[in-house]
Amino acid sequence: MDAQTIIARRVARELRTGNLVNLGIGIPTLVANYVPPDLQVFFQSENGLIGTGPIPEQGMAHPLLTDAGGRPISALPGACTFDSAMSFGLIRGGHVDVTVLGGLQVDAEGHLANWMIPGKMVPGMGGAMDLVSGAKRVIVAMQHAAKGKSKIVSKCTLPLTSARPVTLVVTDMAVIGFHGGKATLLETAPGVGVAEVLAVTEAELVIPDTVPEMKL
């Protein structure tokens, strides 16, 4: 199983029936592919839709029905549309149960940096700051390391997305929580040992007595 699939499958297990869920661009988008069929989850697209469905069949796309990246999507039965004030009212107002976002860095206290690299990449924060500030649970889905460098750092060196810590980080190697304000190793990926995780993690991790293997 490749890194992205491990991350997406593990994140999908965090979703519960009735949840309103917002998925970011990249690995987070893949999560929708692994939601168990008996689970009734509402996906929000922040450009104004609850009930986001899969990419339409060839020739069936509508130019006025897209995801937040402008790509064609479909709408499931029971879907509803709304304006951007409503959309971000849902997000900031705590009505979104789970948001899944990509990350550049997460630090030992659970702070996320995911919107810019000064001097290199300044795309703008889009909806990320509102999502991290307002969603009930914030899950970061990202690779554990990039070019051999840990993305779980002691302290974020990139500009923060929010002062509010995230709930969970799911990587291709581990699940890390921040209960009590300290990065805690909750699970390891199949075939990955605790020592292996520690070897590629810059941040100090709390290691409980037992660290179970991720269920995928």
Partner: protein
């Protein structure tokens, strides 16, 4: 005291006569009240360096024909307010292709390399604002509010230079209201009065911006008789619309 229904109705009519003005008579007989104007006329009203809000999200729900005409008439130095910079050739992206923007207020420009390049070479000044804050600032501008208090951005670079206000132990940023001289709005349906309804994800910033500009100019995919949009389905009420662009 009780009255039977007829007496009550007659009494109310005597006390509160409903004026039937020529305009209401025209409306009742289906004669259009709002005259659609040409793109050329509408855009000619926009001076160079105007502040303009443009609806749409990554070019979806953007009044493309108005932007094409802005490019044709070469309206330079615009202060643009829009969610994003779209992509080259699409939506507000066309304004960056033609280098007509001098100031941009948006939440995301990452998918338009031209806008990024113009920012990095200081051809345009850019205010990047969290999307929820951007839409609330516009909403405040349209609703007579001085601003809004939001938790978004507290403890980040977004908070720099802004007033922070603590309410019940929670910190908020004071984000001020945003208005513009013009709003370019795209609707799915517009009726002869100017009532608007939107489709699917093309609604986004459009109805919010229709509240927040001195002059509101609308393109619609379909212009329909009054009554086709049911009262419950009107999203933007007609009095907010100043000009409707003729179709066809």
């Amino acid at each position: 005291m009780t009255l039977d229904a007829d007496q009550s109705d007659a009494a109310i009519r005597r006390e509160h006569p409903v004026p039937v003005t020529p305009a209401i008579k025209r409306l009742m007989t289906g004669v259009p009240i709002m005259k659609a104007i040409s793109l050329e006329e509408a855009v000619a009203m926009v001076p160079a360096k105007a502040s303009v809000m443009v609806g749409g999200f990554m070019g979806v729900g953007t009044p493309e024909r108005l932007l094409d005409e802005v490019v044709r008439q070469q309206k330079k130095g615009l202060a643009l307010i829009s969610n994003d910079a779209a992509t080259p050739g699409k939506g507000v992206g066309k304004l960056f292709d033609a280098v007509l923007v001098s100031h941009l207020t948006a939440s995301h420009i990452g998918l338009n390399p031209k806008a990024q390049q113009q920012m990095l070479t200081n051809q345009i000044a850019v205010d990047l604002i969290p999307q929820g804050t951007l839409v609330e600032r516009i909403r405040a501008g349209g609703c007579g509010l001085g601003g809004v208090l939001t938790p978004t951005g507290v403890g980040t670079t977004v908070a720099e230079g802004k007033r922070q206000i603590e309410i019940d132990g929670k910190t908020f940023l004071l984000e001020t209201a945003l208005r513009a001289q013009f709003a370019f709005v795209h609707a799915f349906l517009a009726d002869y009065l100017g009532n608007l309804a939107y489709a699917l994800t093309a609604r986004n910033f459009n109805p919010i911006m229709a509240m927040a500009a001195d002059t509101v100019i609308v393109t619609a995919e379909h212009i329909v008789p009054v009554g086709v949009i049911a009262p419950d389905h009107v999203v933007t009420p007609a009095p907010l619309v100043d000009y409707l662009i003729a179709n066809g």
